[in-house]
Amino acid sequence: MEGPAPVSQTTTQAEPGRAARPDQAAGHPAGVPDLLYGETETQLRSAVRDLLSDRAAWPDVLARTETADSCDAGLWHTLAADVGCAGLLVPEEHGGAGASVREAAVVAEELGRAVAPVPFLGSAVVATTALLIAGDGELLGGVAAGTVTAALAVPFAAGPGSRPAPTVRLVAPQDGDPAGTARLTGSVRGLADALPADVLLIPADGVPYGLYAVQAGQAGLIRTPVTSLDATRQLCDLTLDNVPARQIAAGGTAERAVAAALAAGAGVLASEQLGIAERCLEMTVAYVKERRQFARPVGSFQAIKHRLADLWVAVTQARAAARYAAACLAAGDPDAAVAVALAKATCSDVALKATQETVQLHGGIGFTWEHPAHLFLKRAKADSIGFGTADAHRASLARLADLPPAGGSS
């Protein structure tokens, strides 16, 4: 019989026997790529976890939600520049780490575990993916160095599939504008990770459709902070009034850049959701072992044990789905679209379930502001909408897996 294996250890240990970059599908049954964590991923996890336990303990995270500065700029700088998380997806020629979505996904797990208020997803994953396709070396270099924080100007709720309809349009340049200057007017509602951004990447209608870079300090660009359900990832509404911009991609390239950014966002967000679920399971298991009622730990009641066993089972499924999405995105696998849809659909439901169970199984204390359960609940609920709901991702599986709806033809 196996001895007790506390769940807290399952994500911190390397899985021996794995290569440093275990992304080769060869040798694995049924062509499934390596879904385990390699050595570099485990080392990166450990560095990020150490930093977050030091600098983003939940009381600090909670306290920050009631200040004007919802993003922890100091922590983000350390994570981005010193730990090197901002440049994971950026090739070495542009000053990045030349790593992959596999590593970025591990960082996202850790950030989810801490509900950390940093724009890693928006800048290092979503905007960076768009910049990689746009081929903008200068911005990539700044992002990789941690000196530039970028955000793609799409609603956080933007779902899978084709790009969201732009709500910003190209307007006529003004007299005296240097050659190559474009001007943008319009608005985008509910952007994530855009408040701390130095540069906004704005999809805009025009001939052709294009992706434009705008400095955040430009006159006419207004970011209005939104009172957000998840105050650890505060949204903003963006308006642009004749704001000068530089085109970084046009036409098909711009469309691909936005679509790839949204896919990477959804795929990596699934790993953040996995982190949330794991942390909540650990927290709740620890609590029900301690909390005594009726002269026994509440965790000795079968009604509680079975719920937590079911949650642990759900987390094993979420982990497989999230790792598959990370592996497919990292390898540019043709199955990436299916993998992202599976992961976002699965992990959205599992993270939400985990946080709901955390509130309920903590009883009275779990309903209070003084306990971190609500931070996770709100993050999980917001994440379940971010980059497409579970339902929206299942709907895209209908197309990807050839399972047409009623009235549709096969």
Binding site: M1, E2, P4, A5, P6, V7, T10, E15, P16, G17, H28, P29, A30, G31, V32, D34, L35, L36, V285, V288, K289, R296, P297, G299, S300, Q302, I304, K305, H306, L308, A309, D310, W312, V313, T316, Q317, R319, A320, A321, R323, Y324, V338, A341, L342, A345, T346, D391, R394, A395, L397, A398, A401, D402, L403, P404, P405, A406, G407, G408, S410
Partner: protein
Amino acid sequence: MSAGDLREQVREFLAAHDPAASDRLEFLRARFDAGLAWVHYPAGLGGQGLSRSLQPVADAEFAAAGAPTNRPERNGIGLGMAAPTILAYGSEEQKGRWLRPLWTGEEIWCQLFSEPGAGSDLASLATRAVPDGAEWVVNGQKVWTSSAHVARRALLVTRTDPDVPKHQGMTYFALDMTAPGVEVRPLRQITGEAEFNEVFLSDVRIPDADRIGAVGEGWQVSTATLMNERVAIGGTAAPREGGMIGTVARTWREHPELRTPGLHDRMLRHWADAEVARLAGARLRQQLAAGHPGPEGSAAKLVFARLNQEISEFEVELGGADGLRYGDWTMRRPTGADFFGRDPGYRMLRAKGNSIEGGTSEILRNIIAERVLGLPPEIRVDKDVPWKDLPR
């Protein structure tokens, strides 16, 4: 030994034993004696102490030569559960006597564990074995015994000391199913047929030489058997839509007239859940291959049981009017479940057993809660009470 060396060894064996010109059983016996049956078993017992990971190398070489197999599907309990139990707890004499005909398939094994009064609480079992000279006399009833009607031998666990707490007074035997007093009756299931049996034991005499493990050590030996059962249920690699979901997806594609918005949502949920479960199974095998088996194996059976039940229920409903028909209620005697060759109604009914056989889903949740999550054990009122004094 390298894979290449093993391959060479198999080729030499095949050169000396032409599969086309040999009697099937003689060939299998010779393969066993050459240490090429299960290469990770000890020398002299069908193996040569190699890594288990080399077994597929040997199997592939034999398959390529068109050699006869030992038909492992006919003897799942023998190969998957009896053999490792005998290897771990049997005497040298017993290993020499039982393992060869077990591996060749000459002797099918079954498992006499569950009783009408002892299901999840296996340790409460009541089948009595009483010593009589160099023999034991056994009386009792066992149920849910797959393959008992074709088995030559059985793994049998009995009560030998009713005066001590239940886990301490059990003893484990190998039973000759042809012994006088062994009666096998089909146990008809909700599918209409009988994979399983009831086995009645009336004054059955077992030589003490067929006892496996010490007197009173039956619980430990049983535990080893059951651990191997869960490993066996862990599942094998399958392609996407390789499981029950594939049949349903094909029906969905071929019959647009059956689709409704509500069914579509369920179709997509089942498809996603089945595909994620397949990926989780692949990840589990990757962990095993890396020499780092995780506790996720106990999740796999729970998920498998739930999905089989949900998907097969869905499939019958999707069929609409066809869901009202059933393939065949004739009492037949298959040796296992058939999720691919039969109709949806059969699948729906047979899948109900998936959350009961090999440990109920509730017991699995207890195991996960206690052994994986480290939650406090159930409060036990029966642990230190002599078996004969337990309330019934």
